[in-house]
Amino acid sequence: MTATPPIADVSSHRAPSRWAWLGRLWALSTGRFGIIVVLVILITAIVANFWTPFDPAQVNIPNRWAPPGWPHILGTDGSGRDILSLIMAGARTTVFVAVGAGIVATVIGITLAALGALTARWMRESVAVFVDILIAFPVLIIAMMISTVWGGSLWVVIWSVGIGFGVNVARVTRPELRRVLHSDFVLAGRASGLTAAQNLVRHLLPNVAPVFIVQLSWAMAVAVLAEAGLSYLGFGAPVTEPSWGLLLAQLQQYISVYPLSVLWPGLAITITVLGLNLLGDGLREATDPTLTRSTPRMPHVPEVVA
């Protein structure tokens, strides 16, 4: 947000705080839930680097399929591994994939949006058409293409969600960029001798950041779902890596005998995705001054990603 010019607005003498949106976010039930979930997952992932109740890779055949209780709070799986420890270790994979996909989506999205908004007319139009076409490519199809070529790995998930959602980010950010481009402060920046790149970094990007961060939050939710689905199909995490999707696939084989063990990794995924989705919803409400409770906007309708 930029400082309000004193003449235009006499009611507020101070510039609004840069962090005011955080307070607004916390005041929303969706935003608060999102913040808490994301923090819990982050802390779990960090803690799991140093400590888990049991070694998640430790096979203990005599102790297989222990029911939930003490000391195995969520029980053990078919080779006696502690399910809680596996889920904690899986959080690391989830955070890695979500952050990685977020970074790729950011780079691709901003690049395409900038190309589609700030370049010569023929370039802008072709990028717009290209983005419209790419949007029809489901993330899973991109993932299939990548894994046919390189085989499965967590990078498949990161690249496919990053590309698939980067295009989405570009589609939403591009019109925003066009809108801001014609505002007075950007013209003033250009008049005072800023280069196009300086103007982009100092004035354009900060002003499209709200729209962009919301998209990013949803992209990460999709990444978590995609990791689960692709790892389940065998194109994601390698068998040696702790992953929620992989755990689902392994537990599924015994689903008719030990149905409840499947509950835990699924719950972990659902809560994480719900948290990221609600964080995105909350961010949108907290950062968009034109959005009030009486004018509902369309929710994002992402494709099912496994």
Binding site: P138, V139, L140
Partner: protein, 316 residues
């Protein structure tokens, strides 16, 4: 209208072209030696050269692309480099599972999401409306695989009403068995897709409530709910149509995972098997068909929307 249709058709053609180039280039330029892959580890250089000759791999890449696309236009999607079977024939066979599955899933999604979405909008701010809204939000976050497993636990393991996996060997010649095998998979995709659609319907309904013509109708003596149902719902229906293209893409993606989970011999499972086996020639045919289908559905949805939405017509 004609002009719009032609422009949209050109965009579709361009989309198909870009899609085919992207698929071909990604699969052909990047990987290692396809011929080596087919020939296996214990192959002689002569065998590899023979395979390369047979598949046309020593021709320039543009010639290979034109050769492939020419075949596609004549209805020949190529043959498997490993088993030698025809891709088009196999797709047609597997479609007998995937197409009914997709139609069932879409029907379930629309049937439960539209009424519940409208209801949750009309009851906004009350306990039941909030519960519906929270429920939809939560269901939309559930991974499809897990939703399927939970349904299997309840309906196959505990209640024993429906089969947990598989599709009858006899196929649709035993329609009841075949349908029974598809109910749980379709329900899984339908519920998760429907949860997203429901959130969309809710927002669309809330927007419709605020529209002038709904308020006018209410002011002229209709109750708020009658006004909404008579004048608001058509608008909601129109906006549902606009997202149907996305829904179809979602269902295809869902089918890939769900066919694996339920062990159904459909297109999704075929694709997964071919990607695992790195059967490039088959994968590129299948991916082109799936992406092409998504693009064509988007095209049809846009045209239909244009024809039936009076506001769109006036806009031109």
């Amino acid at each position: 209208m004609i002009r719009y249709a032609l422009t949209r058709l050109a965009l579709l053609a361009l989309g198909l072209l870009v899609a085919s180039v992207l698929i071909f280039v990604t699969l052909r330029v990047l990987p290692g030696d396809v011929a080596q892959l087919i020939a296996g580890v214990n192959s002689t250089p002569e065998q590899i050269a023979a395979i390369r000759e047979r598949l046309g791999l020593n021709q320039p890449i543009t010639a290979q692309y034109l050769d492939w696309i020419g075949g596609v236009l004549r209805g020949d999607l190529g043959t498997s480099q490993i088993t030698g079977s025809s891709v088009a024939a196999e797709l047609a066979e597997k479609a007998q599972v995937t197409v009914p599955l997709g139609i069932l899933a879409l029907t379930i999604a629309v049937l439960f999401s539209v009424p519940l979405g409208v209801l949750s909008a009309m009851r906004r701010g009350r306990a039941d409306g909030t519960a519906l809204s929270v429920g939809a939000q939560t269901l939309a976050a559930v991974p499809v695989v897990w939703a399927g497993m939970m349904l299997v636990v309840v309906f196959a393991v505990w209640l024993g009403w429906l089969p947990a996996q598989g599709f009858p060997r006899t196929g649709w010649s035993t329609p009841w068995l075949a349908l029974k095998a598809l109910i749980l998979p379709a329900l899984t995709i339908g519920i998760v897709e429907g949860a997203m659609l429901m959130r969309f319907v809710r927002s669309a309904t809330l927007q419709a409530v605020g529209q002038d013509f709904v308020r006018t109708a209410a002011a002229k003596g209709l109750t708020r709910n009658t006004a909404l149902i008579r004048h608001g719902l058509p608008v909601v229906g129109l906006s549902v149509i606009t997202v149907l293209g996305l829904q179809v893409a979602g269902i295809i993606v869902g089918a890939v995972v769900i066919e694996q989970l339920f062990n159904l011999p459909g297109i999704g499972r075929m694709l997964v098997a071919d990607v695992s086996g790195r059967d490039l020639l088959k994968v590129q045919g299948e991916l082109l068909v799936l992406t092409g289908f998504v693009l064509i559905v988007g095209f049809i949805v846009d045209l239909v929307h244009r024809v039936i939405d009076p506001r769109q017509r006036e806009a031109t």
